[in-house]
């Protein structure tokens, strides 16, 4: 453990990686949506309140913010908020399903500075993608990427959540990214939001995780991962990046109604630190909340203490444990040593995420026509 990682565990004066979901409204209903998005929350932050959050981020010298949702481009003041941030020196990277990026919008986006875009894609072909993200969403994402390329946006990101069904397509994803002059970003599926119900069917098998580790070791330089696979470090060779759970230490989430959670994958009262509307604002929550102080304190390794890989893997992801009913001081449900699988067999009750904003239609895992 380096001194730097130790410092990170104590928390920083301001987060490095902050996610801001602008709205719970979404035109899609992906089965693994981490924020259970669908319907707008009437208590959503107003434009003025959003500007105020950006003022605070600028004062705290937060370099950039990851904007998401829901589908953030649904907000009518989307461009106002983004432009307010980028012209204040707070860079923006936003995630979108691509629905609202037509040729004209792509031109507008390409003309902006300090802006990066992430298009979500969960399958390298329509059948695999649409089973997760809904009918037609593959074509929508592809069209958006073509518009960005034609507009000369430059190197945007293609963001893939790795599942049991798309993990064999990593090379194809890379080829798609290359074709569009984009950069591939792959991240881990956590049982958060609607994935609390679909994770068990979708998360990669142990064998697949081993292949993934190898693939990352050989492509690591050119593929972004948000440091989300550090639990795989227990397999031996360490992947590049920060090897720790950053929740409440270097990472946090501001949700559409201003609630501040320890990380985008733990939308649950247990990890709710405060609200940006509180008297101390966002800075007050980040610096003084009990919830974050606790996360920055020493954490016990619990059942992981006797594992030789603890230094490499740190027990994995807190969100993955929490939403599978496992103790937080113990192995990750995808522990490569297989300990998580054993623990899952006797896991406690599975907590439900705090808000369900899903549209009032049953969200079901689509049938994959090619499988």
């Amino acid at each position: 453990m380096t001194a730097l990682t130790d410092r990170m565990k104590d928390g920083l004066d301001a987060p490095i990686c902050i996610t801001w979901e602008l709205t719970y409204s979404c035109n899609l209903s992906c089965v693994h949506c981490l924020s259970s998005s669908g319907r707008r929350d009437p208590k959503e932050l107003t434009t003025e309140e959003a500007f105020h959050v950006i003022d605070e981020l600028r004062e705290m010298q937060v370099f950039y913010v990851n904007i998401g949702g829901g589908e953030p481009m649904i907000r009518r003041d989307f461009f106002d908020i983004v432009e307010y941030a980028t012209t204040s020196g707070v860079g923006v990277k936003f995630s979108t399903n691509g629905t609202y990026i037509d040729a004209a919008t792509a031109q507008r986006l390409a003309s902006m500075d300090y802006l990066d875009i992430q298009i979500s894609l969960d399958g390298a072909d329509a059948a695999t993608n649409d089973a997760i993200r809904g009918e037609g969403s593959y074509d929508t994402a592809m069209a958006a990427m073509r518009h960005l390329k034609d507009a000369g946006f430059g190197e945007f990101k293609i963001s893939v959540v790795v599942t049991r069904h798309n993990i064999s397509q990593l090379d194809e994803f890379k080829a798609i990214a290359d074709e569009f002059g984009a950069q591939l970003r792959i991240t881990r599926l956590r049982p958060s939001g609607r994935a609390v119900d679909t994770w068990h069917e979708l998360h990669p098998t142990l064998d697949q995780q081993r292949d993934l580790h190898q693939w990352l070791l050989s492509h690591g330089e050119n593929v972004l991962t948000g440091d989300s696979f550090f639990h795989l470090n227990a397999l031996g060779d360490s992947l590049p990046g920060l090897n720790l759970c950053g929740a409440g230490r270097v990472v946090c989430l501001i949700d559409p109604i201003g609630d501040v959670y320890a990380c985008p994958f733990v939308i649950h009262d247990e990890f709710l630190a405060g609200n940006v509307r509180d008297s101390g604002g966002f800075a007050g929550v980040w610096r003084t909340s009990d919830c974050f102080s606790e996360l920055r304190g020493p954490q016990s390794a619990g059942a992981c203490a006797s594992c030789g890989s603890w230094d490499a893997c740190q027990g994995g992801c807190m969100a993955a444990k929490f939403f599978t009913g496992l103790p937080l001081d113990g192995p990750d449900p995808e522990c490569v040593g297989g300990d998580g699988e054993h623990a899952l067999a006797s896991a406690g009750t599975i907590p439900r995420p705090s808000g369900d904003h899903s549209k009032p239609v049953a969200v079901t895992l689509g049938r994959r026509t090619n499988a």
Binding site: A3, L4, R7, D10, L12, D13, A14, I16, Q61, F63, Y64, G89, G91, K93, Y114, D116
Partner: protein, 85 residues
């Protein structure tokens, strides 16, 4: 690099942290860690002195440490945080 005129890249922002500073490069969107408070002060000041060694002496850094600073600055040049002017 000791006698080269240098400066902090204009697109880089520094944020002080207990361990030193975080540097963020707005052009390539990379985050870089400066792991000692003293190197942070030197980097901030590079543009106000003729070259690296004069910056180091202005900061009262003993000559036997210049090599180490030279190395650290070289790696910051590699990551485009520091540039020649």
């Amino acid at each position: 690099m000791l006698d080269t005129p240098l400066k902090l890249h204009p697109s880089v922002a520094l944020r002080p942290e207990p361990f030193g500073a975080l540097a963020y490069h707005y052009d390539n969107r990379r985050l870089i860690f400066l792991k000692h408070p003293s190197i942070v002060d030197v980097v901030k000041d590079l543009g106000d002195h003729p070259d690296l060694q004069s910056t180091l002496s202005a900061h009262g850094i003993a000559e036997h440490q210049w090599d180490a600073y030279d190395k650290a600055i070289c790696s910051l040049i590699e990551s485009d945080v520091v540039v020649q002017r």
